[in-house]
């Protein structure tokens, strides 16, 4: 009996042990001067992430979760500003030689790594050598393999020379610079920096609990000034619905909403008081790709007819609840490469029928299906499992084409098998897929006729000599106006030929807790000025 009492007493004593005050000290610190204050430091931003990061060394990781985090820990030499123009990051300025072959970067002085060591051009040279090293399992080596020579003549100058002009050369130096003094001589896949990175960026790494969260803290020595928000935490919540519940309960401050959540579940007064929603076009598009080697799709009139038979706005309204825009080409509307004046195909089933009849497809036996030379017009659309939007798009397409007399089957296949068995060997009829749109318009790898081999990206087999020439010229010129002319003509040809039916550009739908001020929607999204976001003192939620 006495022993039980003693044990209980010990337990109660242990209750008193704490490391300090609880982090959530509430919003009770009324200062009464909220509006008059400018940016203040403090508070924590908790972001929701569907997947855990895999590796925080940028050279080794290619998933979005890892790059979101390492984007805050590292810097490159240059970057895009909020209007998608080049600006210097670790490079204060740079010169490009007359022949566009040599780039000279003048690096910022006084920048320090998170462990205090100074940043110099030796780190840039080291990063380059790491990228081209055959022992480094990186997916990014290609552009750097085109460098003829790289050198660091003094600690704040980095010079790189190419054999042929490369338009995407400049932005390729936006790649995160890695610390030489911590990675030299170490086998890169065994480096502890994969799990605890050291960079020069606005946020320092604090801890990573695998599968749970990554914690970053603001860097007081950051060259642009210490960010206002003291801590950023990435919480791993693999399920979209759970993430939304956590947001509502206050456990998250930021997440990307699905169209359904944005349009139907976030309009209550209380939600609008606590959160701010944003919407802007994403750098991506979804398309219906035709296998151009297949006899059905060899005739341009058939592809154009299908374009008239599909109502893109209906798909946007049905699948995205209106949160997207019609796509006409492989570039994002509003950006400089985009050509808004290309041929459009309005929804006109009669015109579609006429074009198909011209190509020889009519309903000669009256069974409701089109046929030609005794064969019925039927094909299969394949898409990948796990993307609800693509499946729904396929269903809408199926219905519209059925109205026309074309029977469409839809097959949904697991990703790796989908690529291995159908896409890479060119063993499909049509597919619904999407691409992310890089800011640099070089589309060589996806549209050039030399890239039609198995496993390459021009898996529909598109080949047009004029397009080939435009793409080659476009990637070798650095002059923006010249490139714009090439890429505009390129889009005109794509619109005429319809090798893809470009369906829609979805919108990004981030939502942020209302206490964060300073958020600005720009062509680059909302994360471009993260270091300037702040929370007024009396609204700060987390004291640590």
């Amino acid at each position: 009996m006495m022993r039980c009492v003693l044990i209980v007493l010990m337990f109660l004593l242990l209750l008193g042990c704490q490391k300090g005050e609880a982090p959530d000290s509430g919003a009770g610190k009324a200062s009464g001067k909220a509006e008059a204050q400018g940016p203040v430091k403090g508070d924590t931003l908790i972001m929701g992430s569907i997947g855990d990061a895999s590796n925080l060394l940028p050279v080794l990781a290619s998933d979005a979760s890892s790059s979101d985090i390492s984007g805050l820990v590292y810097n490159g030499l240059v970057r895009y500003d909020k209007d998608l123009r080049f600006e210097g990051d670790l490079a204060e300025s740079w010169e490009i030689s007359e022949d566009n072959l040599t780039f000279t970067f003048h690096l910022r002085k006084g920048v320090k790594w998170h462990d205090g060591a100074p940043f110099t051009s030796a780190d840039v040279l080291f990063t380059y050598e790491l990228l081209i090293d055959p022992e480094t399992p990186t997916a990014y080596a290609d552009r750097y393999l085109q460098v003829a020579a790289a050198s660091a003549p003094d600690p704040y100058t980095f010079v790189v020379r190419y054999d042929k002009p490369l338009a995407s050369a400049l932005i390729s130096w936006g790649f995160s610079i890695h610390p030489k003094h911590l990675l030299e001589g170490v086998e890169i896949t065994r480096s502890p920096l994969s799990r605890s990175p050291v960079g020069t960026g606005p946020y320092r790494f604090v801890e990573w609990l695998p599968g749970e969260k990554v914690v970053l803290e603001s860097n007081p020595e950051y060259y642009e000034g210490q960010p206002n928000i003291k801590r950023i935490v990435y919480r791993v919540i693999p399920d979209e619905s759970t993430m939304f519940l956590e947001l509502k309960a206050g456990g998250l401050d930021y997440m990307g909403l699905s169209p359904l959540q944005y349009a139907r579940m976030t309009d209550s007064e209380s939600f609008k008081e606590r959160f701010n929603k944003y919407r802007f076009a994403a750098f991506a598009y979804t398309y219906l790709g035709y296998n151009l080697r297949h006899p059905l799709f060899k005739d341009k009139r058939v592809r154009q007819a299908l374009a008239h038979a599909i109502n893109k706005q209906e798909i946007i309204d049905g699948v995205l609840l209106g949160l997207g825009q019609v796509a006409t080409g492989p570039y994002k509307p509003g950006t400089w490469p985009h050509n808004p004046d290309v041929k459009r195909y309005e929804f006109d089933p009669e015109k579609a029928k006429k074009l198909l009849a011209e190509a020889g497809w009519t309903d000669s036996d009256g069974d409701g299906l089109l046929d030609k030379d005794g064969k019925k017009f039927t094909f299969t659309i394949v898409t990948n499992q796990g993307n609800d939007q693509r499946t729904k798009t396929g269903e809408i397409l199926q219905r519209r084409l059925r109205d026309l007399g074309i029977e469409v089957k839809l097959r949904v296949i697991e990703w790796a098998s989908f690529l291995k068995e159908f896409i890479n060997p060119g063993n499909f009829e049509a597919t619904i897929l999407g691409w992310t749109v890089p800011i640099d318009p070089d589309a060589y790898n996806v549209w050039h006729s030399s890239k039609t081999g198995p496993g390459e990206l021009n898996f529909i087999g598109f080949s047009d000599p004029e397009v080939d020439e435009l793409l080659e010229k476009g990637r070798r010129t650095l002059d923006i106006e010249e490139r714009r002319a090439y890429y505009h003509r390129f889009q005109e040809i794509l619109a005429e030929e319809q090798p893809y039916n470009f369906l829609y550009v979805p919108e990004a739908l981030p939502v942020v807790a209302g206490r964060f001020k300073g958020i600005e929607v720009a062509p680059a999204g909302i994360m471009h000025n993260l270091i300037d976001w702040y929370v007024p003192l009396d609204e700060q939620k987390y004291a640590r």
């Binding site: 399992p137 994969s194 896409i423 890089p438 790898n445």
Partner: protein, 324 residues
């Protein structure tokens, strides 16, 4: 007994070998490769780069050579390094997640037993009573309810609207600042919903099994004898009938040993719990061969051990088997 035991233990080696060989071949039958994640549909990679990555992982060697390499490492208790982008040792990745999965499974089975054994006994002794019918409906509702749907409903009700319980994860944000006892309580609070939802679905199976076992036992002659002797109902049911009805439960428990390390990926995704289910599922999707093989080997080993323990337990509990 000792001879039986040693024979069973020796048999485990060829069985493990067979299991690993079949698993290895079957995984490689699926299309796709570990390097696909980085190289497929990526405009920045070339065919040469893909080949380079493949040889770095040893994927260009013939299948049997790859199996031999893996087996040789396994014998030295080295599970190899994951082919996913973090390149971490498989053993480390598994050990990180094993405790939480085993913890949740153990708590869940304990809860199931705690609830279904009494339900089973009472339903059997009061067959067709109001209690029996009510619990039958109740456990079948539990069985039929999709667990993810129930989870979301409870999360919304208890987590968002009433703010009584945490919604996801196994620790709260400020966990590291709490004292040791509060930390334990924090974890337990997070586990309430997952364990409850997981147990709710499993109640039906166990309680019905208990019930039918008890019914069978109660009709035996020796129970009649016990009652005729004048023993109290409690003694009849709990000292005599229950012991015999529990025997098959041991077998079931033995067979659930491999299930202890298997998490449900749907469950873990909903509750954002970093467990074995998600680890294995992601590994399969990414074709992370060393990880998949590591988890399968542990699972196979535990299945064989569990079987052995179940057989031994049965022999210990039932003298008729022991002396046969």
């Amino acid at each position: 007994m000792l001879r039986y035991l040693s024979r069973r233990l020796l048999m485990m080696f060829p069985m493990m070998l067979g299991i690993t060989l079949i698993s290895f071949v079957v995984i490689h039958l699926a299309p796709g490769e570990p390097t696909d994640l980085q190289t497929q549909l990526n405009p920045e990679t070339s065919v040469e780069l893909k080949e380079r990555l493949r040889s770095q992982y040893g994927l260009d060697k013939p299948l049997l050579v790859q199996y031999g390499d893996w087996l040789w490492r396994l014998v030295q208790l080295d599970f190899g390094r994951s082919f996913s982008q973090d390149h971490r040792p498989v053993g480390e990745k598994v050990l990180e997640r094993l405790p939480i999965t085993i913890g949740i499974n153990v708590l869940s089975i304990a809860l199931i037993l705690l609830v279904s054994v009494p339900i089973g006994i009472l339903s059997a002794t009061r067959q067709n009573s109001w209690f029996d019918r009510f619990t039958t409906v109740f456990v079948f509702i539990g069985f039929a309810t999709p667990s993810f749907w129930l989870a979301l409903l409870l999360m919304d009700a208890l987590g968002v609207r009433m703010a009584l319980l945490p919604i996801s994860g196994i620790k709260s944000m400020g966990h590291e600042y709490l004292g040791p006892v509060e930390q334990l309580w924090d974890v337990l609070r997070h586990l309430i919903l997952p364990v409850f939802v997981s147990a709710f679905g499993g109640l039906a199976g166990f309680s019905r099994y208990m019930r039918s076992n008890m019914l069978e036992v109660i009709r035996q002659d020796y129970i009649l004898t016990a009652r005729a002797k004048g023993l109290s109902e409690g003694a009849v049911v709990y000292s005599h009938a229950l012991r015999n009805a529990l025997l098959p439960v041991i077998t079931i428990l033995g067979l659930s040993v491999p299930a202890l390390i298997g998490g449900s990926v749907i469950f873990e995704t909903i509750f954002a719990i970093p467990g074995m289910g998600k680890l294995f599922y992601d590994g399969v999707m990414m074709r992370d061969y060393p990880l998949i093989m590591g988890v399968l080997v542990i699972g196979a080993f535990l299945t064989l051990v569990g079987n052995l323990l179940a057989d031994l337990g049965y022999a210990l509990a039932d003298p008729r088997i022991r002396n046969a």
